[in-house]
Amino acid sequence: MNDLTPARAVAADAGTPAAKIRLLCAEKTFQVRGQDIEALHPTDLDIRPHEFMALVGPSGCGKSTILNMMAGLMRPTAGEVLYDGQPVTGPNRRVGYMTQKDTLLPWRTTKDNIRIALELKSHATPRAEAEDRVRQMIELVGLKGFENHTPAELSGGMRKRAAMARTLIYEPETLLMDEPFGALDSQLKLLMLDQLQCLTQHRRMSVVFVTHDLGEAITLSDRIVVLSARPGRIRAIHDVKLERPRDVFKVRFTPAFSEQHERLWDELKDDIIKGTDV
C-alpha cells in the first residue's frame, strides 16, 4: 500500500489535470486449474478527460482485462483502479461498455435491444422521444431495414453495430470499446469510424478503445498505448499528432499517418509474432 501513496498525492494535486480513469499499479492474475496466469503486470495508466485512447497489443496481453477492471466487472488482484479519483469497487455506471462479445438480448428485436437503456429508471425517457432516438441510432449505424430482426437473424458485423448503438444511445460520459469493428468489412468500418468520431468529439466523451487495427487506432486516437505480450505491460505510449477534425477517409493517405504507422509497427511486430499462440 505504501508505494501507492505518492501516486495518490499526485492525483490530488491541483496542478496536474485530473485523470478520468487511473490505473495505479493495477495487476491481474487469474487462477486457472490451480495455476497462476499473470494476465497484466502491475500497470500505471491515466486516461485524461475527453481523451480518445487506443489500446493495441497482441492477443491475450490483457486488453479486455484492463477494460473489465475500468468497468468494475473485475477487481485488480493488486493495485487500484480510480474513476474520477474514486476507487472502482462495483459495476461502474459512468461508463458505457461495448464488450468484445456482444450481449444483445436474443429475445428482443434490434430496435428493442437498442432502446433498452432508455427503458431504465436511470435514463428514463418519454416513449416518443425514445422511439425517435432509437430511429436516429439505427440510421447512424446503418441498420435500417433490420429494426425488427432478432440478433440471431443478424450477421456478426450487424450485431456489433447494434451493440454499439445500444451503448451510444444513452450517451455515457466514458466509452469503453473492445474491438468493436473486428467483424466489419473495410468500407463499412470507415463509415463507422466516421460516425464514432463525430459522436465522441461532439459529446466530448472519454474513450478507451481496444483494437487490432493500427490504422483504426491512429485515425481515431489522441494517444495509443502499446502493450507487450503476456504478461501485459505498457511498452510505449504514442501521441498521435494529427490535427482534428480528421477525415477518416483521407487521413490514411497522409505522410504523417504513414510515419506514425511505421513507428507503431516497429514497436509491435516482435510481440505480435511472439503472441500469435492464441
Binding site: A71, G72, L73, P91, N92, R93, V95, G96, Y97, T99, K101, T103, L105, W107, I116, A117, E119, L120, K121, S122, H123, Y170
Partner: protein
Amino acid sequence: MAPPATQSAVVGTGATRLPGAVGSGSGPQSSLERFFATSAGRVGARLLLIALILLAWEYAPVARATRFWMSSPSAILGTLWDWLFDGTIWAHLESTLLVMSEGYVVGCVAGVGIGFLLGFFSRLSRVLAPLLAGFYALPKIALAPLFVILLGVDNSSKIALVAVTVFFLVLTSTIDGVREVDRNTVNALALMGATRTEIIRKVLIWAALPWIFTGMRLAVRYAFTTTLLAELIAANRGLGFLIELNSGNFNTTGAYAAIVVVIICSVLLTELLSRLESRMSHWVS
C-alpha cells in the same frame, strides 16, 4: 469339403439373385414401398396391423380360463359402450382430469414462484439446496399413503401429490434457468444503471422462460402418471380407480376397458403437447 462348398453355393445364389430381384421385381415392390411412404399408406398399414392383432385376440383358439384372463376385443368394446352411455367413463375421466389439472396448476405456480425466489436469492438457495436435492430425488409416489392419511381418500390427497411432483420438476428447471443466465448480459444491464428489479424484469425472467417451458412440458406427463398411480393406490373415483376396481373384482374385461381409456387419454395428451410445442417454439427461439 462338402459343407463349405454348399455354403459358398448359397452365398453365390444369394449374390446373383439379389440384383436380379431388384431388377425384375422392381415394379410392384417399389410401388408398394411408395404406398407406405405416403401418409395414407402409413395410416393404412397401421390400421391393418391393429386389425390383425384384434382379430387374433378375438378368435385365438384358447382355453376358457385363458379367455377369461385375456378377455376379448368385442367384450371390451361392449363394456366401453355401456360405460359411455351410463356415464361411468365421464365421471371417472372428469375426476382424473380434474385432479391432474388442479395439481398441475398449483405445482407450476408454486414451482415458478419459488424457483424465481431461490434463483434470485442465491444465498437462500444455497442453504436449501441439499434439502431440495433430497426431496427431488425422492419418488413422490412414496408420499401417497401419507397424503391419504393427512388429507383423506378424496381428491385433495391426490391433488397434493400431483402438485408436489410437478412442483419439484418446475422448481428445478426454473432455478436452472435463472442460474444459467449469461453473467455478461446481467453485467451489461448493471453498467447501464439497471436496478436489481429491472435486471430481474428485463433479463432473468425472459432468459429463464425456455427452461421453465421445458420443465412444464415434462411435468404434464408426470402429472398424468402420478394421478393414475395415486388413484390405483387409494381412491374412490378416477381412471386409476376404475382399473383397480375391476381388477379387484376379477373383471378383466372392465380392467382392459379402463386401460383403453387411459391409452386414448395419453395419446390425446401427447398430441396436444406436440401441437403446443410447435406453436411455442416459434416465439421462444
